[in-house]
Symmetry: C3
Subunit: 273 residues, 3 copies
């Protein structure tokens, strides 16, 4: 089934508007092209509504947000909602500053998100907004493990129910869930955390996947998460004796470019809970 | 003749001021170094006139423009004109939003450009500014093909006459023209569209070429376009079985770094119309 | 001794807040991860104090500074000083515009820097702020050479005494000095100047080194400078016949990722003056 999700991206070439941070913006543009989509980056209030109207989907990423770009995030998000375009939120750094946390809360209250994709710590921060307590304090180590998996899945499903979004939490184990079902995904490699931007790239790619598969948001988000993990594995297997993190980054993007649906299907490792 | 253009860049090391988007800015800086020039990036009105005064040429790229950087584009452009420095315009996204289109029009009315470099859709948008109709609707598919080549060349020459700029339109077939002559260039590879920034990089490199060859702006712009295409071919030939778009990007920059005048001359494929 | 410095970075994983330019920001984030630290990029006055409080060290880089980010640099710098976090200044372009020079002067007057890292021209510009004349005009060629080494070391020590900072000047020969001792470092390769960002990356990495080695700021800064040079050499040795500047950049980051303390110690070439 992930095969179909990937193939729809390659067939439909979704155009994705990205309001994102300047650290990983080039990687986000390149991964969108590599997976079969197209990127437009634009963050000025004077044009974001028009730009997002011409696109199929939108990613809002709060890394390096500033006073100028925050209103653009809200304006673009509302416009995309009006038009029925899927919007992906990557709440980078929610919890790290009041500005980021409050911006994420404000976005959650004013924009409907098809998918929220973050790490467990960011997602816990967001969950507190809605007054959630169940599971917020799960996982003392602040990561999803086999030991706290059941509890983590319950927490993520509850947050998905509360927001009406698919919630994708990535880490050593990835979980993509709506209120009823959760894909628990075991692909990926620890070396992915040795480069910046794997999360941002995944969020951008998720927007392409859900835009190309509008009827199957959960499956599409899970497929994107799984594809990123598979590419992290393929890239790792390719490393030579002199290669380090820069080559690894390139190899991940190369793998995304080359990935076909059959390989994704064959290498995918997940359970549905 | 392209050989001489390239060698002048390597000999004269033109210093290029760039006001450009944050998506591909790193690639623009690196291609300027790779081709033999030097980059300075600066976009604050408090310094752009001073910065551009210390440079030999200027690139204005309207990708990810914003309310803060638009006045800086105008100020730098005017200053460069005063000093007789060549200015290259890359009207990224002209036609995609009123802000970008109006900014491009405003720049065209207030700044003289040595070269305007864009895709056919962006250049058609600009041509409408001057009230041009001839050829604006050429090419239903919105790209230059063998079938519409004559019409496209006529359109581009007319726009060059109207603006007094050399106009370089890149796509499957590239055209660089002034009002009288057009270089129709057949180098390049379709895979170049699978990475972000080949257009932006070419605009930055074009500024280096015209700055190092101030007496021969058309030939210099054509040489830059041709060099980019040749490097796209060399990079493609180098791809291994695991390589994808990230390696391809690196190989293009590597090829620009290694390109010599003889290779450029030998591999160049163009007609003059 | 450099071995210990490097190993402390890998052991302590310093979290570094970076206010930096958008040209090389991705490389700065990736080199911090590659050397064993972690990056956070943030430049809005609404959050920089909070972000820097959560970090161990701070880098302020004045490339592509603007009216919005300059107050953030000052606010973050003061906060880091209050908390006793080491702050590294990279005065990119000091001397190239009044805005950059005045910003650097303002930062110097209001923030205490553990390390100032720049090229000789930038550091001379800063030295003029304090009214220094000794050695400011050393080196007509504006670079440190064997011929002007003694004079250059004296100048850098004097500037270190004046500012209370360790001063690291990089070029063909690198010097890292406090008021009393100077490490004169002969590692590195000329090809490092063919890519953008080796200076910015070094400044970010220096912040990681001094944050992980708070008792030995001079030695830590010298170790970072030396590590960057060694990685430039390793990367150069790895270049294949088709490789150019893009591969070289990747190989440098790869080498930083793979570098261990023993290799650093073995390859380090320096004198203490």
């Amino acid at each position: 089934m992930f095969q179909e999700m990937l193939e729809n991206v390659r067939k439909r070439h979704p155009l994705i508007h990205n309001i994102t941070n300047y650290v990983t913006v080039n990687d986000c543009a390149n991964i969108l092209l590599a997976c079969g989509g197209s990127p437009i980056m634009s963050d000025d209030t004077g044009e974001v509504e028009e730009i997002t109207s011409a696109c199929g989907g939108l990613t809002i990423n709060t890394g390096t947000l500033n006073q100028r770009t925050i209103p653009a995030m809200l304006a673009a998000g509302k416009k995309a909602n009006e038009l029925g375009h899927p919007v992906v939120l990557d709440p980078v750094g929610a919890g790290a500053s009041a500005l980021r946390t409050n911006t994420a809360f404000d976005l959650l209250s004013k924009v409907g998100f098809a998918v929220i994709r973050g790490n467990i710590s960011e997602v816990k921060t967001l969950a507190r907004y809605g007054g959630a307590t169940q599971g917020v304090d799960a996982g003392a180590a602040d990561c999803v493990t086999k030991e706290n998996l059941e509890q983590s899945v319950a927490f993520i499903k509850a947050f998905a129910a509360q927001t009406g979004s698919v919630v994708a939490v990535t880490g050593a184990i990835d979980i993509a869930a709506d209120s009823k079902s959760a894909y628990v995904i075991f692909n990926g490699h620890p070396m992915m955390s040795s480069i910046t931007g794997t999360g941002c790239m995944l969020s951008a790619m998720t927007a392409a996947y859900v835009t190309a598969n509008p009827e199957k948001v959960l499956e599409a988000a899970a497929a994107a998460v799984c594809a990123m993990g598979v590419c992290g594995e393929i890239a790792y297997e390719r490393l030579g004796p002199m290669d380090g993190s820069a080559s690894y980054r390139n190899y991940i993007l190369d793998a995304v470019y080359r990935l076909d649906g059959k390989t994704l299907e064959r290498r995918a490792k997940y359970n549905i809970l």
